[in-house]
């Protein structure tokens, strides 16, 4: 089981958090903070596993994380998950984000956290891995995106126009903060599927 999926940046700002067990908002923030604290002080080229034990329910749990450019992707899992499998899942997740956002950067995650949630929902459900095939995930996400657009129809047009105008005025929007070399693969870990 996956207990939680956290995305935060190099400064510990949460960009997305998904807990598959219930915690109060305060505890959630505390978990994010502590996880950031644990993960951020680790060097780049050391192992991606961390016995997080104390944070979320018991010593059975592990933190498995990857660091891409400005973002940390952290999965908290129990012993029923394969460590290397989860590492690969993170890779699939990031690659999917990259495809869906077309060259994903931190800002995409900042402004479209709902979309990130929707993509994640096609991969992991209730803490269990639902789908690992990237093209299948993208197909489903896109199909839902189409539905959304068709529902918005005429009614959505003005709103879209306004938000486009708003975005135009936004100097900080350029997609300059790329999440590094997205296609890094774990060495010696041939693609999973």
């Amino acid at each position: 089981m996956i207990k939680a999926i956290l995305i935060f940046n190099n400064h510990g700002k949460p960009r997305m958090s998904k807990f598959y067990e219930h915690y109060t908002e305060d505890t959630e923030q505390q978990i994010i903070r502590e996880t950031f604290h644990l993960v951020s002080k680790r060097d780049e080229n050391i192992c991606n596993f961390l016995e997080g034990g104390l944070l979320i329910g018991g010593s059975d749990n592990k933190l498995i994380y990857r660091h891409y450019a400005t973002l940390y992707f952290v999965f908290c899992v129990d012993s029923s998950e394969s460590e290397l499998g989860i590492l690969d899942l993170i890779q699939v997740f990031v690659e999917t984000l990259d495809k869906c956002f077309e060259n994903v950067c931190e800002l995409d995650l900042i402004f479209h956290v709902d979309k990130v949630h929707n993509i994640l929902a096609e991969m992991v459900m209730g803490g269990m891995v639902l789908e690992t095939n990237m093209s299948e995930i993208i197909t489903q996400v896109e199909a839902q995106g189409k539905m959304e657009k068709s529902e918005a129809g005429i009614a959505g047009a003005p709103a879209r126009a306004v938000s486009a105008v708003k975005n135009m005025n936004l100097p900080e929007m350029p997609k300059n903060i790329n999440i590094g070399d997205i296609s890094i693969k774990v060495p010696n870990l041939p693609s999973f599927k």
């Binding site: 596993f49 269990m128 529902e151």
Partner: protein, 1239 residues
């Protein structure tokens, strides 16, 4: 219309959307909290608007704020609103918000049941998908129960997208509603072979999660998984399956044997490291589970270790980490194979990655032997010195202690070395583990008697240098060590060279800065030292030294008497007074030493950690009983301080065997020696090297001349290293000696057998440096051996420990869709359409309660107003909720797995083999029938009985099959529908004016009456009408074999009358008998059903019949026959039918019915029993009930209405009845009369 929408959206396009909110927060970095609070105010305004788009936008923003740590539970209801939007876009927003912030305590969740159900059955797969995803995050036991059936249906959906989600969510449903596991499992198993790989993977996922917690229940799936493992190419699935096998093999070693080969093949063939790693892991699990002795065992181990070595040597830190992790698993069972890679592991200790170092440390734990312990610990000590960061250093410290102390100090050959290591560890700065070191010191000093002298000397030095430990505030954790040091010095003070000096060290003013509990130990042990000093100077008249000691104490103790710590203060003042007294005696030249020493006489033995728990409670001792009458409130306060002392005392002071005489001590010593002889941990002296110590009695021997000339700290070289050197020398010497001896022996025994050469030094060859007495822990006499108290009773997975191999019983059914029956609907309304139930549904929750309360109030008012019938009727029906449920149930019951209605129509002769359902043993079957014969024999039914009865009798036909289910459901309902229940109770209370008779349980009732009986067989039967067919009734006959013989070839025949005929299969003659489709072993009973067609139902009828059968015993078989008379009462043509009060009133008003009445005298039972009886035996249902008056309704299979008005007063019951068929009514009334005349 479209214009309006456009207008609405133009209005809201200037609302803040999520992007604006994020942007705003980013622009207000310095006053973020303030900005967000204004945003929340805006959101609150938006939520008040009717436009769902605005609401959805607001909820979307709230989801973002929730991530930032803001509590948004106040908007839960709005989230539900957005969830129920018809547009996918908004629905998704709503479900996302719900999944982020709903949890079991969210009360609006109960409003969502119907919405979710609707979404689940939506034609749009993404609506369903979104609902499933959301539900997976916030499913509650109630939701799980209500929706389990819907989700199960989705598991067979045509779209794999839905199927896989439905399969996956079942795990959550099982967790919340364990009853669903058994009924859903067959389908889940089916999905393991789903054509879609995603669905298959989901099913594997779920079963693996289930099996991980309760593996034994899933052993039977092993062949299926085995097939999957060899056929699947999906690495995710393979990994899950292989992990699952890892959990299963410990339970079934044969499985392991089969697994080794395919796993080995996979290890060789796969290129995916993740798969390789899991394979290795499972092979390890297999090897652990197999008892050694497999021939190719070592080959597999070698393969694993070799592969792991490759992983560990890899440059990828992740692989290195996992390699070490897996290695530690091998270590437990095959330490030898791992020990050969010691070099590699020690190398990992130098890794820059802390995780890897920690893993390597774990491995070290299992790799030590007597031979290498000192060497390894030396390495670790080096790391301790080098380590940066306290966490890792603390970890090292605990590891060192773990490694050394494991299995009762098994690997320690030289305890002096160990003590020195401990002392060195105290130099660690800022460690948290002072208490750990302290407890080790205590443990060693107490249990290893031979080391006490050395330990005491070391501790004395520690005490003397206490300022080194306490000087720095940062080192506070370490001062715990002084606790141990003081205690050891005091307790074993006889070993002290210069007790006076130690005493002085312990009473330095600086001690007062130590924590209270340590000071207390100091004070107490100062007294012990005092006693020792006195004894030392015993006999010397006018000993100056002794008097000086007393003076020292008298000078120094007042400091402690002033301590703020109560414990210290108390001890200090006690001892101070004692010393003052002693001083006086000393001045009078009285010998005091012996008496003072007696204060601390006796020996302290270690107590096993669980000893206290294992003391059996003596028979007849009730620990909860008051010894004295409980004190009144005011007294208890006075007693508090006493309690404090009583509690704290044992922590610090020793529990002494005060009055133990010499004999007893001697006896104990003897016993202990015997114990030691049989104790595997007791290291026996090897005569070759330690002849010197052959003296009897361990206590008196200084085992080794402790070389105290070894300075405590050698500059440049830690003391423990000295021991390492010494030890090596010693071993060399021993070896040489042994060789010499062996040579001698060889010379002597040459020509006889040739002994294997000693070769490399083996474990056993290493003798301990000095004889060590590891005192075993004391256990109470007759301690209870059981020890499995470590399981967490709160584990949710415990509930899922369900045997899945048993065939599905009828009780294992998911509850089908039921309505919470709080809102009264007439049947007409009910047929109205889908919308009605949803609306009523939404009214649940708080509103429901409010409704009820309103109703109750209303009914009270009503009563005052002399009970207007209609209003009260409603109220009464509310207390009969089961009926509404029932009507729904019959509609929905057509769903799988047992399609009852279909069965009813098709079956000409239906037989339910109870034997198949229950265990095959005859006794179990007998029990089953006995409970079947008394279906309502649950005496614990206070209020629910009436509705339950009507319900069950209505379902007569299914009753036998569903009996258990019904009961279970009842229980569930009682359990889950709290609201409804409260409503019930409340309603009835108001009606009953609180009379207690309601509480009386109903006597057991059965509708089965005796058909015929002889010495071989007994038949009981019951007749039920059939809704579907107005001319058919079903007779259920239970056959019970009373003999010791086997009954077979039973044939059932009835002489048809003009009116009633037994339905025979096509082609059979009118007088042919029907074969009973089962045989009866001795003592077993079983039920068969026969369908009869009837024409007129207005008159009761009797049919003659015969049962023929063959009695087969060991020797012979005889043909037997039993005649019977089937009595078709008019009651048996009635079917329990719920009736709504408005319909009932209409019916009575119509004037089509003819009346009749009946008076029953001397009825001596509570009114609700009376009603229950009528309901149960005569298939009526209660329409309403006011005090001692009730209206009841039933319907015949041919549609006659029968209405009763039952009144009771003083043992007299009058029944006014109306029916459109007077003769039927007359007969029914006669039968009612008979029922009551019987009791």
């Amino acid at each position: 219309m479209a214009l309006k929408i456009v207008k609405g959206s133009i209005d809201r396009m200037f609302d803040k959307n999520l992007q604006d909110l994020v942007r705003g927060i980013r622009n207000h970095k310095e006053d973020e909290a303030k900005y967000i609070s204004t945003c929340i105010d805006e959101i609150k305004q938006e939520l008040k608007q009717d436009n769902i788009a605005v609401k959805a936008n607001a909820v979307c923003k709230l989801t973002y704020l929730q991530m930032l740590g803001y509590d948004v539970s106040w908007a839960a209801f709005n989230i539900v609103e957005v969830m129920s939007s018809s547009k996918f876009t908004y629905k998704r927003i709503g479900y996302l918000a719900a999944s982020q912030c709903f949890h079991e305590g969210t009360d609006v969740i109960m409003l969502t049941t119907n919405q979710i159900r609707k979404d689940l059955s939506s034609p749009n797969q993404y609506d369903t998908g979104v609902a499933l995803t959301g539900l997976s995050c916030f499913v509650t036991p109630d939701l799980a129960r209500d929706l389990a059936n819907d989700i199960m249906t989705l598991m067979s959906h045509t779209k794999p997208y839905i199927r896989k989600k439905a399969v996956l969510i079942m795990y959550k449903v099982f967790l919340k509603y364990p009853e669903s596991l058994r009924p859903a499992f067959p389908r889940l198993k089916e999905k393991l072979e789903d054509p879609d790989p995603g669905v298959q993977s989901a099913a594997v996922n779920v079963i693996c999660e289930l099996a991980r917690r309760n593996p034994k229940n899933y052993l039977s799936l092993a062949p299926l998984f085995f097939k999957l493992m060899t056929s699947s190419t999906n690495n995710w699935v393979l990994i899950k399956i292989i992990k699952l096998f890892g959990a299963l093999t410990p339970l079934e070693p044969r499985l392991g044997k089969k697994l080794i080969e395919p796993l080995t093949n996979l290890i060789h063939s796969t290129s995916a490291m993740s798969l390789l790693y899991e394979c290795v892991n499972t092979v390890i699990a297999v090897l652990i589970s197999l008892s050694s002795g497999m021939p190719n065992h070592s080959a597999s181990i070698q393969l694993c270790v070799q592969k792991l070595r490759i992983l560990i040597e890899d440059s990828d830190q992740n692989l290195k980490y996992l390699g070490l992790l897996a290695m530690s698993k091998i270590l437990k069972t095959h330490p030898k194979s791992v020990q050969s890679h010691k070099d590699l592991i020690l190398q990992c200790l130098d890794d820059k990655d802390e995780s890897i170092r920690l893993r390597a440390l774990d491995l070290l734990y299992g790799m030590v032997s007597k031979k290498n312990l000192m060497e390894i610990v030396k390495k670790l000590m080096l790391h301790v010195d080098k380590a940066e960061g306290t966490t890792y250093r603390d970890e090292l410290l605990t590891k060192i202690i773990d490694i050394c102390s494991q299995s009762n100090f098994q690997y320690i050959t030289n305890f002096e070395w160990y003590i020195s290591i401990l002392v060195e560890l105290t130099r660690l700065e800022g460690t948290r583990h002072g208490h750990l070191i302290a407890s080790q010191m205590l443990d060693v000093a107490i249990r290893v008697k031979a080391i006490r002298g050395f330990a005491v000397a070391q501790m004395a030095t520690l005490l003397d240098n206490a300022h080194l430990l306490t000087g720095n505030t940062q080192r506070n954790g370490i001062c715990e060590v002084l606790y141990a040091a003081a205690w050891i010095c005091g307790e074993f003070s006889e070993h002290l060279e210069d007790p006076m000096q130690t005493l002085e060290a312990m009473l330095r003013p600086k001690v007062a800065t130590l924590p209270g509990h340590i000071q207390a130990v100091y004070v107490q042990n100062a007294a012990k030292l005092f006693a020792t000093v006195l004894r030392k100077h015993d006999g010397e008249t006018e000993s100056q030294a002794a008097q000086e000691t007393s003076q020292l104490l008298i000078d120094r103790l007042p400091l402690f008497v002033q301590s703020a710590n109560l414990e210290v203060q108390e001890r200090a003042s006690c001892i101070l007074q004692l010393v003052k007294y002693i001083q006086k005696l000393q001045q009078k030249n009285v010998e005091v030493a012996e008496e003072v020493t007696a204060l601390f006489a006796g020996e302290l033995n270690p107590v096993a950690p669980k000893a206290q728990k294992k003391v059996p409670i003596p028979e007849g001792l009730d620990l909860d009983a008051w010894i004295n009458e409980p004190p009144s409130g005011s007294e208890s306060e006075d007693e508090k301080p006493k309690a404090v002392f009583a509690k704290e005392e044992p922590k610090h002071s020793r529990s002494r065997h005060t009055e133990v005489d010499e004999k007893e001590l001697a006896r104990r010593r003897e016993v202990r020696k015997q114990e030691q002889a049989s104790n595997p941990f007791y290291i026996k002296a090897s005569p070759s090297s330690q002849k010197v110590y052959d003296a009897p009695g361990v206590e008196h021997i200084p085992v080794v001349q402790i070389d105290l000339s070894v300075p405590l700290k050698v500059p440049g070289m830690p003391m423990s290293d000295q021991y390492l050197k010494l030890e090596e020398e010693r071993r060399q010497k021993e070896k040489a000696e042994r060789k010499k001896k062996e040579k001698k022996k060889k010379r002597e025994k040459r020509g006889k057998e040739r002994k294997a050469d000693s070769g490399p030094e083996s474990e056993e060859d290493i003798t301990p440096a000095h004889q060590v007495d590891i005192v075993t822990e004391e256990m109470p006499e007759n301690a209870l051996p059981s020890d499995d108290d470590d399981k967490d009773p709160n584990d949710p997975h415990k509930a899922l420990d369900i045997d899945l191999d048993k065939p599905l019983a009828d009780s294992d059914k998911l509850p089908v869709r039921t309505h919470r029956p709080e809102v009264l609907k007439s049947p007409a309304e009910d047929r109205d359409g889908e919308s009605v139930p949803q609306e009523t549904k939404k009214k649940s929750g708080k509103e429901k309660k409010k409704d009820k309360e309103k109703d109750r109030k209303r009914s009270k008012e009503e009563k005052k107003k002399k009970k207007k019938p209609k209003e009260v009727e409603e109220e009464l029906l509310e207390s009969q909720p089961e009926e509404a449920v029932q009507s729904e149930e019959t509609k929905e019951a057509a769903a799988p797995p047992t399609s009852t209605s279909a069965e009813q129509e098709v079956c000409v002769l239906m037989c339910v083999c109870l034997q198949e359902v229950t265990a095959p043993s005859s006794s179990a079957a007998a029990v089953d029938t006995s409970s079947a014969a008394a279906p309502e024999s649950e005496p614990d039914e206070p209020k629910d009985t009436e509705p339950e009865d009507t319900k069950s009798s209505k379902h007569k036909k299914k009753k036998q099959k569903k009996e258990k289910e019904e009961k279970e459901k009842k229980k569930k309902k009682r359990h889950h529908h709290h609201h409804q229940h409260h409503g019930d109770a409340g309603g009835e209370d108001s009606v009953q004016n609180g009379t207690v008779e309601e509480e009386e349980p109903l006597p057991p009732m059965s509708n089965y009456s005796l058909l015929a009986e002889n010495s071989y067989i007994k038949m009981v039967y019951d007749i039920q009408g059939n809704h579907q067919d107005e001319s058919k009734v079903v007779v259920s006959v239970i056959f019970e074999n009373k003999s010791d013989s086997f009954l077979k070839a039973m044939e059932f025949n009835v002489l048809d009358s003009l009116n009633s005929k037994l339905q025979r299969p096509e082609g059979a003659g009118a007088h042919d008998s029907l074969t009973v489709p089962f045989q009866l072993p001795p003592g077993v009973s079983n039920e068969a059903r026969f369908v009869f067609s009837v024409q007129s139902i207005v008159m009761p009828q009797k049919l003659k019949g015969t049962l023929t059968f063959i009695v087969k015993s060991d020797e012979s078989s005889t043909h037997e026959k039993l005649d019977f008379k089937l009595h078709f009462t008019c009651t048996s043509y009635l079917i329990t039918t719920p009736c709504y009060s408005d319909a009932y009133a209409k019916l009575l008003e119509s004037g089509d019915l003819k009346g009749s009445s009946l008076r029953l005298e001397g009825i001596n039972m509570p009114f609700h029993h009376l009603l229950a009886r009528i309901c149960f035996h005569h298939h009526f249902s209660v329409v309403e009930r006011i005090d001692s008056c009730a209206s009841m309704y039933s319907r015949s299979i041919q549609g006659h209405h029968v209405c009763l008005l039952v009144k009771t007063s003083d043992q007299t019951v009058s029944i006014d009845a109306k029916c459109d068929e007077p003769s039927l009514l007359g007969n029914v009334l006669d039968e009612i009369k008979q029922t009551f005349s019987k009791c």
